[in-house]
Symmetry: C2
Subunit: 416 residues, 2 copies
């Protein structure tokens, strides 16, 4: 079934704001069996809203209108929709009293502009707003369904989940888009595609997309299912992909890599310290995005200068001279050094050339070494990343986390 | 004059991709005197493209269509536009030869799909593509102008700048939106508004917007100017704002705070080291986003655990016991300690409670202390931020940079 999304708001027609609701709405519509055929942004202008709604009504079975339901002068979705449908606006006295009580209880101003929030398009069902004041509406016109929703995501999302989704599932009659998401660490996009293409090509009914993010390679599987059809092929393909990639798969729940690694550290009761040269804090910042990371993260050293590498991480000056700061030897020495300095179970280090400056004949921009040290074992990984300074730095952080994860997995298999 | 933007691409109707070109295009249109009245996203479907283009042609003086000009089967903007205008597609033989030469020179495949890139909508002017293969087109239909542009920003932006912008400036006949942007550090949004409202209310012809970003408070001034009208009122208001806020203004060129502070450090030949508790690397990561920051940034210590504060930053254990890790005393001790550990001119420290855990009766989530130390001077700032864990951490970073900037400004005024 076809759906259209209309976002209302003059600010969405400036260079400063884009419509972000529609991505989330699209996902929910897909889940309920609707495909989005068009998206439109229109300003706070009742006639323009009416104009674009008429266009959408003639082309879709469902129209989602977001925004313009607030109490201010420029919130004109209500009159715009009434005009498009040739219906009146009717003030709902029960709703009016409810809103008045709510506003006065909170000490908010109450007057004619606020009262307009109790105006309903004739024939509309009210969609209660659990979070804010503007109620939504559900309408039907010649078999086309229309949902009017508040613009702020904090109000739109819960209203969509509790009020719109059940109605869509009835309309969709069980047809839906089933999805699976698989995230992979420590492989490149072309390695993943080379490994998986012979497998997913056997499932032409499933749309397979490989997406390269800074933190991982993602594989997305999508399949439209008929009412009552189980996602058996999807599960089968996901299983084969998992079997082919093995432990490179780190989540099927869109969990960030730093959370997965954090849980492994917590469960194995190992503590972590980091030494960062070119990333200068991004790895520590990433590890500690996870609430409760103080259970396993002790701290680290930002050894941006060579002097800091020597003084704080105990890297021998001869080693720096012999191999350079960006080298396997120094990466391993930094990992060992930061482990000793912070008294952690594991030391993890990054040294590299983020650019744009700093390259030499042998060492190009994008060259990165990651070092790992625990009591028993020291090792490193080398990679040359393409991209600008901050792309190289971000990828280095996730290379380090992927490397740490592979070492933790190895330790699980062969406990020392 | 009214403009409409149409973005073509089925991927823009999925939950994974949004149309990002239109923000940039809007800014350029505004500069040339056009206001965007509507934006639409449509899939790779010639009839749907024609349908939405007809709608836009009836409502605007200018329509910008982006995407769908490539060589693949699903690039159908050309036939869609031809259908909307009731014109034929005509293969341009000179363009065909040029494209063929280009493709074969680079070893790319050449065949019927690629040949379609030489098809022009009858009556179109070619807009040369300096970067990619798909040429753009410029059309006129009953006084409405239409630009067809490639979708990838790397191709769209230079084509817009060199080919579309001069045409728009002729059409706009000198009417334009003039803009000024002012960024402020170390003040809250309501402080800025309280200070500026009496000033900007005297300029009703100028649209003044105050935006709170994590790194700063921004003030944007916008004014539509008639042909030949100088931006005198805009300059006057900007001058009054600058005078009212004084040194709290850190840029009128949208320069990030970390660049401004970096330049001050370089110019004053001072080096910096950071000690980070709750931010755990975000400050170091931010300072080193600036290429060449190794000129003044030596490194730092991520003292997430108390033990790290004691061992690596030399914070006395008694101080931690007496005041707690999140205190003015410890913030200052960390700044002094990291300065000594790295041998820098300045030490800058952050300690706080990012949440969701860690609060006590006296110390709420969001409480942050920033410490500063140079040879002559030690001081701190205290703030309670609202927001989730990573909001608190991000704001703490910019509080620290704003504090550092204020100390560097003070040092400029009274050199020690």
């Amino acid at each position: 079934m076809k759906a259209e999304i209309i976002a209302v708001g003059s600010e969405l027609l400036t260079p400063d704001h884009s419509d972000t609701n529609s991505l989330w709405i699209t996902q929910k519509l897909n889940e309920a069996g609707f495909q989005v055929h068009g998206k439109t942004v229109v300003g706070d202008d009742a006639e323009a809203i009416a104009d674009r709604l008429r266009f959408a009504l003639a082309r879709a079975q469902l129209v989602i209108v977001g925004g313009g339901l607030g109490p201010t002068e420029d919130d004109v979705t209500r009159p715009g929709v009434a005009r498009a449908l040739g219906r009146r606006l009717v003030r709902d006295t029960a709703l009016l009293e409810e809103l008045r009580a709510r506003f006065t209880r909170r000490g908010y101003p109450w007057g004619a502009p606020q009262e307009r929030q109790a105006d309903l398009v004739e024939g509309a069902e009210v969609l209660p707003n659990a979070v804010g004041s503007a109620p939504g509406m559900w309408l039907e016109e010649h078999g086309v369904h229309v949902a009017l929703l508040p613009g702020p995501p904090a109000e739109l999302v819960p209203m969509f989940e509790s009020e719109v989704m059940p109605r869509l599932q009835r309309l969709g009659r069980g047809r839906r888009l089933a999805r699976k998401s698989i995230r992979i660490a420590g492989m490149t996009e072309s390695q993943v595609d080379g490994c998986l293409a012979p497998i997913y090509r056997q499932y032409p009914q499933i749309q397979t997309t490989i997406l390269a993010a800074a933190s991982h390679i993602g594989v997305r599987l999508q399949q439209w299912l008929a009412p009552g059809e189980p996602p058996a092929a999807l599960e089968e393909l996901a299983g084969k992909i998992h079997a082919a990639l093995g432990s490179a798969v780190f989540t099927e729940d869109d969990e960030p890599l730093e959370e997965v690694v954090g849980r492994m550290l917590r469960e194995s009761r190992r503590t972590l310290a980091v030494a960062e040269s070119c990333t200068a804090g991004l790895l520590g910042g990433c590890v500690t995005r996870v609430p409760g990371s103080s259970d396993y993260f002790l701290g680290g050293i930002l050894c941006y200068s060579n002097d800091a590498k020597i003084r704080l991480c105990g890297v021998p000056e001869e080693l720096l001279r012999a191999h350079g700061a960006v080298s396997a030897e120094v990466a391993e020495a930094l990992a060992r050094g930061v482990r000793a300095a912070l008294g952690s179970a594991i030391g993890l280090a990054i040294t590299g050339i983020a650019g744009p400056g700093g390259a030499t004949a042998e060492k190009p921009v994008g060259l990165v070494y990651v070092g790992y040290a625990d009591g028993a074992h020291t090792s490193h990984q080398r990679r040359i990343f393409s991209g600008a300074r901050n792309t190289v730095r971000e990828r280095s952080v996730y290379l380090a986390l992927a490397f740490l994860r592979s070492r933790l997995l190895a330790a699980e298999e062969a406990p020392s």
